[in-house]
């Protein structure tokens, strides 16, 4: 099998401070993973704020250049494609969905403007009827219709509708990979599952691979095929989602799981923080420089000392 997307030893350092007192912080350190061609999956990157998950997503989208390593799409490195045809071809295949649906569209412009622009630029459609057909098809796949969206301004749609319109915008150019950065964290609870379920439909029905970036282990467990857990820029554990979350190995993964507020024992007031796991994950972070990812079989990787 050939790789669709290959993140190969990618690190990103940000320079802090000015000319005289420059320090470097690593947002992402040596991240490796690949999505295969022909097998669409939901690949989840989990981490808290500051874990580097968003930076990694930005690098995959080509918005940020890795300091080390390389990201290849269908074998071609994506860095350096800032403008031009190659960049356009890449953007046709890899599309983003952002966090805040209320911010996803310019409040002063109509929503369909973006869907139309995507269809025009990336699929080269020019005829009015073809454009409408392409837009309607994309909107239908997210449970909306062109009639509902055409001529509407963002404030006329609900958060759930906007997020679906944003996904439709990405789908209009028939991408292979969708990068969804916290797509439901700003959506109201009653509308949230509609979006999450939609991501699953995209994988199953349209064959789109989704890189789902989240801090929420519960939805990750619910929809992901594979999962990658990041702590302060480092991948600490990776593997099949159910397997990893049912039985996390790395102390940090275990801490994250232990910190999820369970609803199954509602009303029990079970709030004791897992102090021992906090300590263990802190220790693991301190010794992270001398650790490496160890293969555990079935594609499962766990960061271990030594």
């Amino acid at each position: 099998m050939s790789a669709l997307l290959h993140v190969d030893g990618v690190s990103k350092y940000f320079a802090m401070g000015g000319l005289l007192s420059r320090t470097q912080t690593a947002a992402v350190r040596d991240a490796n993973f690949r999505l295969e061609q022909g097998t669409p999956e939901i690949f989840t990157i989990v981490g808290e704020s500051g874990s580097g998950k968003t930076t990694l997503a930005r690098m995959i989208l080509g918005l940020e250049t890795p300091t080390e390593g390389e990201i290849r799409y269908k074998g071609n490195p994506i860095s350096g494609l800032s403008f031009g045809a190659a960049r356009r071809a890449f953007m046709t295949d890899v599309q983003p969905v952002f966090q805040n649906p209320f911010e996803a569209f310019n409040p002063l412009k109509r929503v369909d403007r973006y869907i139309e622009s995507t269809a025009k630029v990336f699929r080269g459609i020019t005829a009015r009827a073809d454009l409408d057909a392409a837009m309607d098809e994309a909107l239908a796949s997210v449970g909306l219709s062109l009639a509902e969206v055409r001529g509407r301004y963002p404030h006329e749609l609900s958060g759930g509708q906007l997020q679906r319109a944003a996904i439709a915008r990405a789908l209009v150019c028939k991408p292979k990979v969708l990068i969804a950065d916290e797509p439901v964290s700003m959506v109201d609870a009653s509308l949230r599952m509609a979006i999450v379920n939609l991501l699953r439909t995209l994988r199953d029905d349209l064959g789109v691979s989704v890189i789902y970036i989240t801090h929420d282990l519960a939805t990750a467990y619910y929809i992901s095929d594979r999962i990658m857990i990041m702590q302060k820029g480092r991948v600490v554990e990776m593997g099949a989602a159910r397997q990893v979350l049912d039985d996390p190995q790395h102390p940090y993964s275990r801490l994250l799981k232990a910190s999820v507020l369970s609803v199954t024992d509602a009303g029990q007031g079970n709030l004791e923080p897992a102090r021992d796991l906090m300590e263990a994950s802190r220790t693991a972070l301190e010794h992270a420089d001398a650790s490496r990812l160890v293969e555990q079989g079935e594609g499962r990787l766990v960061r271990m000392a030594g």
Binding site: G17, G18, L19, L20, S21
Partner: protein, 334 residues
């Protein structure tokens, strides 16, 4: 402390660049003058009075060096800088043979004094009143002051000074409208002299305060009326914190930070306003000197005033910038 020093050093670098750019610009503008100044000036000086040939020769030499048409451009530029650093821009023309720099240095304290007093008064008064007006939005006198401020604020310095001259010079002549001190008083550290200086400074200072206070008042009022809706103010009110503490420690304290930045940004403009005002009141500062120099065709003096102005303003901005981190703990020093 070390971080602060690094921060200060960086600002110093910025100051140096501004001074360099400003002085260079002055040189370039003077250099590309279509008028050839040297012989015109020599001719005028020599024709008007009977100076000693050596003085005339020294003037010719200075001017040749300053404008230095006999040398390559880079050399002229370097010469200009070396003279500038030594503080020697040649003798002035209007008060020949007093060095131009000496005239500038004599005028500088007047301008700086007037400017400092006027800025501090306008800034403090405007901010205090504006802060109160922003917090007590239904207070009638403060509302009325706001309307007056909107009326006065856009009037340029010159017109305000001019109006004051009309009022206190012609309609109700109670204050001196010209000069830095009375002719009859000798400059000394005497009560009479100081009183006379203060007396003469009232109108110029008043016109500067009038021109400036509206800006600060309106700016502060807008800022404060925003800050009172901030969470930390709401929270303090919910917490039953003292009114006085909220107004001073929460609202005003936070609003002062952007107002200080605004002061640094406005300084160039205020300086221009000051020298315009000086000219109207014949105040013995840089402004009056500059106009005299222009009317007298005194290139060296015009250059000296321009360059010193650039340095003065840039240094003042530098000092305000240094205060900034002391007022705002969030500014990253370093």
């Amino acid at each position: 402390m070390r971080a602060y020093l690094i921060f200060a050093l960086k600002r110093l670098l910025q100051l140096a660049v501004v001074v360099f750019a400003g002085v260079s610009a002055a040189f370039v503008v003077a250099h590309f003058s279509p008028i050839s100044p040297i012989e015109t000036i020599i001719g005028r000086v020599a024709g008007q009075s009977s100076f000693s040939p050596t003085a005339v020769e020294s003037l010719r030499q200075t001017l040749t060096e300053l404008f230095g048409y006999d040398q390559p451009l880079t050399q002229q530029y370097l010469n200009f800088w070396s003279r500038f650093v030594r503080g020697d821009l040649g003798p002035s023309l209007i008060a020949f043979p007093t060095p131009a720099m000496e005239l500038v240095m004599r005028a500088l304290p007047w301008t700086v004094g007037l400017l400092t007093v006027a800025i501090i008064m306008a800034w403090l008064l405007g901010n205090i009143l504006g802060g109160l007006a922003g917090y007590y939005q239904n207070n009638r006198p403060l509302k009325a002051f706001g309307i007056v401020a909107i009326g006065i604020q856009p009037i340029p310095y010159y017109i305000i000074a001019f109006l004051l001259v009309i009022i206190f010079g012609y309609l109700w002549p109670v204050l001196p409208i010209s000069g830095g001190f009375a002719m009859a008083v000798r400059p000394a550290w005497s009560f009479d002299f100081i009183f006379s200086v203060l007396h003469h400074a009232i109108l110029p200072a008043l016109s500067l305060v009038l021109a400036g206070i509206g800006t600060w008042f309106l700016g502060m009022r807008a800022l404060v009326s925003n800050i009172v809706t901030e969470d930390y103010v709401t929270y303090a009110e919910l917490g039953g914190v003292n009114r006085g503490t909220i107004v001073m420690g929460y609202v005003t304290r936070n609003a002062l930070i952007p107002q200080l930045t605004a002061l640094a940004m406005a300084l160039g403009g205020i300086f221009s306003g000051t020298i315009i005002t000086e000219q109207v009141f014949s105040y013995p500062g840089l402004g009056t000197l500059l106009i005299r120099a222009v009317n007298g065709g005194d290139t060296g003096l015009v250059l000296a005033v321009s360059c010193v102005s650039v340095i003065a303003v840039a240094s003042a901005i530098f000092i305000i910038d240094l205060l900034h981190p002391l007022l705002d703990p969030r500014v990253k020093v370093g």
